[in-house]
Structure formats: C-alpha cells, structure tokens
C-alpha cells in the first residue's frame, strides 16, 4: 500500500470530478474523520486514516482490500471507476438520472438507458456528463455518461439511448470473478 503520486492523484480526481464536481472537496477534506487514498496493486482505496495506519501492519502480499475500493488503474495508466465507488458517487452526485421500474432490469443487465426508461433527469445536464443512475425509490443502481444534454433528450424518440452504461450493481453478480 502506498499513497498516490501526483500524477495518479490528478487522474483519479479528474475522473471523480466528472461525476461529483466540486463536491470532491468533501471527499478529500472531511469534517468528521480524515480519509485518504491509497494504492494497493493498481487499485485505489479510500479509507479513513486510522484504519489505514492499522492496515500498514498487514504485509503487501496479504493485504486484499481496505476501506472502499474506488477503482483501478489500467495497464495503460487510465483510471477506471468501479461500481464499488457508487456509495460515494451517489452521495455527492451533481447530475442524476432516475429510471422507471420497467427500465431497472435492463440497466442491471448492463444495457444502456433508453429514453423510454427515463423517469427523471436533473435539469441542465450537459452532454457527455457523468451521471449516477437511480431507481424511482432513490436506490442508486449505477452510473454512466449522458449521451445527450437534457434539452436534446426531450426531442429523442423512445428507443434512443440517453445514458451510456458504465457500471451497475448487477456487476456484483455478473462480474464476481473479475471484480476483485
């Protein structure tokens, strides 16, 4: 486990800012307990500092996970956000999309969100903006990227894609093997 380098931090924060924007500061400087990012085997973990200090005593080959895994660095150096980060994304998300009950299952199977499934969407969402997808009961289901801005979405026909799927909670079942 080691802290992130400058470069890595920048990559991660850029990615996160795409979804939570200015609320990123809430992650970095928390009021209640200071948290930090740590890197272990290409995975980025967000963990409270006290837990992190205890986890130092665990040897590198034996440490599997600490706190919350946000995602991992690919071989090409890009940072991929995992579904495990959903809790924090949902909490601080700037732009949200709600899908109707009939659209829940397709999304959980990994498909994109169609206009027909759209329940609600935050006003003034720009195009290609990271959004968090919720069910109508406000249960976070995953996140993605908008295909069109809110304004344009209104003009689309029901079969058009409005949110590109990036991660959904169904992955806990589908990608059990590869998730960790």
């Amino acid at each position: 486990m080691r802290p992130l380098t400058e470069e890595e931090s920048k990559t991660v924060f850029t990615k996160l800012a795409n979804y939570i924007g200015k609320n990123l500061v809430h992650l970095i400087d928390r009021q209640d307990e200071p948290h930090c990012f740590r890197l272990q085997k290409d995975r980025v973990f967000y963990v409270s500092e006290s837990s992190m200090r205890l986890a130092i005593s665990v040897a590198r080959p034996n440490l599997v996970s600490l706190g919350t895994c946000f995602g991992k660095f690919t071989k090409g150096g890009k940072f991929k956000l995992h579904i495990t980060a959903l809790d924090y994304l949902a909490q601080y998300a700037k732009y949200k999309v709600w899908i109707k009950p009939n659209g829940e299952m397709p999304f959980l199977y990994g498909n994109h969100v169609l206009k027909a499934h759209l329940g609600r969407i935050t006003e003034d969402t720009p195009e290609h903006q990271g959004v968090v997808v919720f069910s109508m009961n406000d249960i976070p289901l995953g996140f993605g990227v908008t295909a069109r801005s809110t304004v344009d979405t209104r003009k689309l026909d029901p079969t058009a894609i409005i949110v590109f799927h990036q991660a959904d909670v169904g992955e806990y079942l589908r990608d059990e093997e590869t998730l960790f």
């Binding site: 409270s48 006290s50 205890l54 600490l66 706190g67 895994c69 069910s135 909670v169």
Partner: protein
C-alpha cells in the same frame, strides 16, 4: 359464442384474482395440503391477522357450487377485501362455466388459508353455515379432527412430493398486493422446515424462541407418537402372526424375524434373539447388497422402542450394546452416513432425539436473510420484497434484522435490493456469534475466518461503520467474495487480509473483540451439504480439532485485555460434535488461565456439555450454547464467549510441555507496557553475567551466565524450573557427565 356458451370459458379474470388459481398438479394434492395448512396455520394467523375474515373453511372440501355460495355471503360480510369477494364471485361464475372442479379446488386452497388464518373467529359462523351442505360439513369436521394427526404424518410421508407440488403453485399465488395471509397458504405443503418455521413464528412461551418453538416439538412428538402407533399396530399384527406361526420367542417382531429369516436368513431384528450373530448376519446383509429400506426402517423403529424401555422390552440375553450397534449401522445405511460419523453423532443424543436429529438433517432449513442496517430498515426491506413477490416474515424475537423467506417468485439472491446491498443471504445460526460478540462502535475487531463475509458485514453494521474490522481468511480465493460482499453492503471500515489465522497476533494484535468462527467438520450443516455424511473420518476430526485449538489460542492472544469497552472473544463452529466444541474451549481454559467463560447473551439454545463420555470439562462450559436443527430449526451451531483478562506473570512450573511455556513468554503481546516482574529476572541475570562460575567443574574459571531453563528442555536430570547459574562450558560438561 356458440352453443352452450355457458360452458365455454369466460373472460380471463382480472390479474388480482387470477393468481389464486393453483396449478392442476397442485390441485391433485389439495386435500392433503389443505389439511396440513389448517393444522399449521391457526395460531399464527390468528395472532397476526386477527381481523381478516375470510371465506369459510366450509368449502375446504366442498367442490360444489352450493358450498361456494354458502361460503360467499358469509365471506362477504366481514371481509374487508373487495378483492377476495370479487374473486369468489368470479369463481362462482367460473363454476357455471363448467370449470367447476377447478373452482372448487381453488376455493379449497383459499379456504385452507383462510381457515388457518382466522380459525378462532370463524368457528361458530362456519358451523352455522354448514347446514346447507352436510357433506361438506362432515368432511370438514373430519378434516378438522384429523388435521393435527394427519399434518405431521403427512409431513413425514409426503416430504418430497410436497416440495414438488409447491413449485408450480408459487408463481401463481405470490404476485401483486396479496396480503401476507393470502400468500402464506402457499407454504401449505408441510415440509419439515415449513412446518417448523410456521410453528416457529407462532408465539409460544418457550424459552427457545426463534425458528423453533413448542409447536414444532409438539408436531415432532406427535409424529413420533403416530409412528409409535403404527409400529404398535404392526407389532400387534406380527405378534398375532407369530403366535400363529408358533414362533417360540414370543417377541414383538417375531413375524418380522420369520420373514427376515426366510428372506435373508438373518432375522437380525433386535427383539428376537437373532442379533447375536449380528456380525455374521450383517455381513450377509452387506453381501446381499444391504437390506431393503423397509426392513431397515422397521428395525430402527424397533430398536428405538426397545432402547427406550430396555428392561421391559429387550429380549433376554441380548445386551444393550447390541441393540445400539444394530441401530447405528441401520442409521448409517438408512440415512447415508459412514459408520464413524453415524456413531459419533448418535452418541451425542438420547436415542429418540438422535433419530430426530438425523431426520432433521434430511430436510433443508428455512432460507433467511439479514437486513443491512447500514442501508435500510427491516420494515422497509420487508415491504419492498413483498412488493416484488416474496413471502417473508420476521424470524423471531431474538433478532431485529432477520427475515425468513418462505417462498419467492423472484430469485432472492438477485433482486435489485440485494444488489443494492440492502440484505444478505445468511443462515439464522450465523447471526448468533455476532449477537454474542456485540461489537461496539469505534472498536477494533478481528474476524479470523471471515469468508464469505456474512458475520463481518454484520459486525460492521452493528458498529455503524466506525472503528475498524479486520476480516481475515486463509483462503485467498475466498477473500474475493468476502471483499465483494463487504463492498456491496457498504461497509467502509473493513480491512481485508489473507493470513493463516495462526499468524495473529504477530501481524497485529490488541483487538477489542475477536470472532473466531473456526473451520469445522460441518456436522451441523449436513442439511446443506450432504457430502459431510460420507467424507468425514476420524483423522479429519483430529486434524480439525488440532487446528481449532491452535487458532483459539492465537485468538485469545490477539485480544487486548485492557480494552475499555471490550476484551471478548467469541468462538463458534457450525458443528455439533464435542471434540470440536467443548474440548477446544476446555483446552483454551486450561492453557490460558487468564481467560474465563462468560454468558453468551443468547436466550435460547442448549447449554454446552460439562462432561461427555468420560471426559470432564470445566463447569463453566454450561455457559456456552449449542443449537440443533431438530430443536431450533437452524443449522447445528455452537457459541462460546470468553473474557480475556490481564495476564499475570507466567509461572515456570507450568506442568505443560516446554513449547507451551516458551510460547507464553514469547507471545505476551497484549500489552506493550513493560512488565516489571518478567523483566526483573532478566535484569538480575544480566547483573550476574560477569561473576565467576561457582560450580567450576571444568576448572577453567570461566564466567557465569544465568540461564533459565524452561521445563523439559534439557534431557539431563535437572530439576524442572530451577534457575541455574552455570557457565556454558560447565553446562556441556555437566550434561555430558549426567
């Protein structure tokens, strides 16, 4: 429509009502199911849904229109649910259309529920209405009377069939906004678990609350009584035949003996004097490919009966052990256990209870889920799942996060709520060690064998994501599922590592609480994994027990005795054998005098054994708790809670082997403060380092070093535990001379 339109099928019924229609296959078994449902339902329904008047049980057997019509008006009055009324009306219409029998069947099903649900409310009114249909009346009366008896009996006989029948019924019944009551009838078919879970939900003034209550025991004892009654009949008949046949033994199973002798030439039935050549007979049996199931079953029953009243019933000249041997081997062949395990498990219980235990292992335990309090509340979760079509109920008073799933039209492990981390599929028995441990917020907790993470996430939820939970599992592949569950349920204070548990506390110690859910033989979860019956041998038990003893010592050493809020260790296994449970706990008590057993805090469960087959354990072992599938309707389980105190100076005459003493000294890691007592000896030793050797055997005048010899280390005749001052060379010389 054409001719005889009234015989043609009408419009499909609106969705709500259509669900009630059971499949034809189900209908075939209707009567039995219904009777059972009647038997099982009453108290619970009354308690929960006291105000749900429903169609009269009249039509329980009645397939006639009149029955329906009679039932209907009455049903209409008290019933608050328009839905039901509408359905009944529709059913009447359907009858007219010629699908009469199915309506009747339908009603029967409904009636079963209703009857069960609000029996007390409707008894009188039912009878009043019955006048119109004498047939129904009679049948119902009979059904009522026989409910109790038939119920459990049928439970035994129709086990597998019923399960099959349950399936088609489920999707039909469980949709939409059905009330719990309406959904519940689906569980009509009494499997062992169903019956017990039904009854378990009933509120009984039983100390053993939870999934099993008095009702279950009653049902089971009724089952045994029924069995006994049948046996008695059989015996009487055989006795008569025996007399006819002129059998000289005059024992109960004389006839069986004759038969056996004729068929197999062994007559190994116990009541007759033929058990003696048992070894030969059994070999013969085995050569013949084993006895047939009925013979074995009969023999088992006989053995149980005789052993229950040995003085009176045993044949002369036959020892008790012969009967026991025969019974054990029959159990092995009937239930599919290897000999070693059959005997081991048999010896845990009194005879009749042993049979119950083996029977319970054939039947799966109810599916249970645990609400994740970090994300939702039990009530909200139950509501959401019911909306999806899951039939569930709270487990019992002892937990406020557990839900028992009766049936579900959707896969319970794949609902959006599951994926969002609102609940975890977990056996009810797995709640127990965490409840016993009760970790507090802000503590540092260790879970030594945590995969797949049910208990770890439970602890994190109890601690409300504060403090730190170290989740360890020796198997790296299983840490994947552990991590996935941790993340899915939103536990943010968990550190997952993969060590052999015996490496703690070297890796990190000073925990406030430690949970050790030790790897075990799994004899408590045979109903989940039948391979345990055959693949466990004596060697497995000794290996496992050894591992468990090592782990528990390491766990004890990892606990910080000075912890302000904690200092507890919970040891649990999913096994019922004594050498994995009480023996390990007793070992820990002996090896670590600074720990003591405390009350687990669980109100139900059998106390642990304080002595077993010649081995005696500390009296405090009665504070530990044992759980059995046939008593509590949860997996076999064992929970023991220790309080770890400060360790006082380790005394040399430990009377144990050397390594133990060394280990004690070496792993004194629980307090990092200096221990003056222990340090004193070293300081004194160091000060004498430069003094001349008093023995001076070798005459060289070398310098002395104070050597503390742990007992047993030296092979020479040095008194145990004495501190000697010898020069190293003298030491060699002395040992050479000694």
């Amino acid at each position: 429509m054409g001719r005889r339109a009234k015989n043609k099928q009408g419009d499909p019924r609106p969705i709500d009502q259509a669900y009630d229609k059971p499949s034809q296959k189900k209908l075939g078994k209707r009567k039995a199911d219904e009777v059972d449902s009647g038997a099982k339902r009453p108290a619970k329904k009354v308690k929960e849904n006291a105000v749900k008047p429903l169609k009269a049980p009249v039509a329980a057997n009645g397939k006639t229109k009149s029955a329906l019509k009679v039932a209907k008006p009455r049903a209409d009055q008290p019933k608050p649910k328009k839905q039901k009324q509408a359905r009944f009306e529709d059913e009447d219409e359907d009858e007219d259309e010629g699908a009469g029998s199915s309506e009747g069947w339908e009603d029967v099903d409904d009636d079963g529920d209703l009857k069960a649900q609000a029996k007390s409310l409707f008894n009188e009114s039912d009878e009043g209405e019955f006048v119109g249909d004498l047939d129904d009346l009679d049948i119902d009366a009979i059904a009522d009377d026989d409910d109790l008896l038939k119920g459990p009996v049928q439970e035994l006989d129709l086990g597998s069939d019923d399960d099959d029948d349950d399936e088609p019924e489920l999707p039909v019944k469980l949709k939409g906004k059905k009330s719990k009551q309406q959904e519940r009838p689906l569980k009509i078919i009494p499997t062992g678990s169903d019956a017990s879970s039904d009854e378990s939900d009933e509120d009984e003034d039983e100390d053993e609350d939870g999934p099993i209550t008095m009702k279950n025991m009653e049902a089971r004892s009724r089952a045994l009584d029924a069995r006994a009654a049948r046996e008695a009949e059989l015996n009487a008949e055989e006795f008569r035949q025996a007399e006819l046949a002129g059998e000289q033994s005059g024992d109960d199973l004389a006839d069986a003996d004759d038969v056996d002798m004729d068929e197999e030439g062994e007559g190994a039935d116990d009541s007759e004097g033929f058990v003696l050549p048992t070894a030969e007979e059994r070999e013969e049996e085995k050569k013949r490919g084993g006895p047939d199931v009925h013979t074995v079953q009969r023999r088992m029953r006989e053995c149980v009966r005789i052993l229950g009243n040995f003085k009176r019933l045993a044949a002369k000249g036959r020892a008790r052990s012969e009967y026991v041997q025969q019974l054990i081997s029959d159990i092995g062949s009937y239930y599919g256990y290897n000999d070693f395990l059959a005997e081991k498990l048999f010896q845990l219980f009194p005879v009749a209870e042993a049979i119950e235990f083996f029977e319970a292992n054939e039947v799966p335990r109810p599916v249970t889920i645990r609400t994740n309090t970090l994300r939702t509340r039990r009530r909200d979760l139950a509501q959401a799942l019911i909306n999806r079509g899951v039939n569930l109920e709270p487990i019992g008073k002892w937990t406020n996060v557990g839900l028992q799933v009766f049936e579900s039209s959707v896969p319970i492990g794949a609902t959006p709520e599951y994926l969002a981390g609102h609940y975890m599929l977990q056996a009810a028995s797995s709640f127990l060690p965490v409840i016993a441990l009760s970790p507090q917020a802000g503590e540092r907790v260790l879970d030594m064998a945590s995969a797949p993470g049910g208990k770890t996430t439970h602890m994190a939820a109890l601690m409300q994501n504060t403090g730190v939970v170290f989740a360890n599992d020796a198997n790296k592949a299983r840490t994947k599922s552990l991590t996935a569950n941790v993340h899915r349920l939103g536990c943010k204070n968990v550190v997952v590592c993969s060590y052999d548990g015996r490496e703690f506390p070297k890796v990190i110690g000073g925990f406030d609480r430690v949970l050790l859910d030790a790897p075990c033989s799994g004899t408590g979860v045979i109903s989940k994994d039948a391979s345990v019956k055959t693949n466990k041998s004596e060697r497995d038990f000794s290996l496992l027990s050894h591992l468990q003893k090592q782990l528990i010592l390491c766990a004890i050493d990892s606990v910080q005795p000075d912890s302000k809020t904690g200092g507890y260790l919970v040891y649990s296994t999913c096994s019922v054998t004594v050498d994995e449970n009480e023996a390990v706990v007793d070992y820990a008590l002996r090896k670590r005098p600074n720990v003591k057993l405390v009350d687990t805090g669980l109100e139900f469960g059998r106390p642990g054994f304080t002595s077993y087959r010649g081995k005696t354990f500390s009296d405090k072992l009665s504070l530990t708790r044992r759980f059995y599938p046939h008593v509590h309707n949860m997996d076999g389980f064992y929970v023991a809670k220790f309080k770890v105190e400060r360790r006082t100076k380790v005394t040399k005459p430990d009377a144990e082997a050397g390594p133990a003493g060394e280990v004690d000294v070496a792993m004194d890691g629980e307090s990092i403060a200096f221990n003056d007592d222990e340090d004193k000896q070293y300081i004194e030793g160091a000060s004498s380092l430069r003094a001349p050797c008093p023995i001076d055997v070798c005459g060289i005048g070398c310098l002395a070093a104070e050597i503390t010899i742990p007992p047993g280390d030296l092979a020479c005749s040095i008194e145990l535990g004495m501190t000697l001052i010898l020069s190293l060379r003298c030491l060699q010389r002395t040992s050479g001379n000694a």
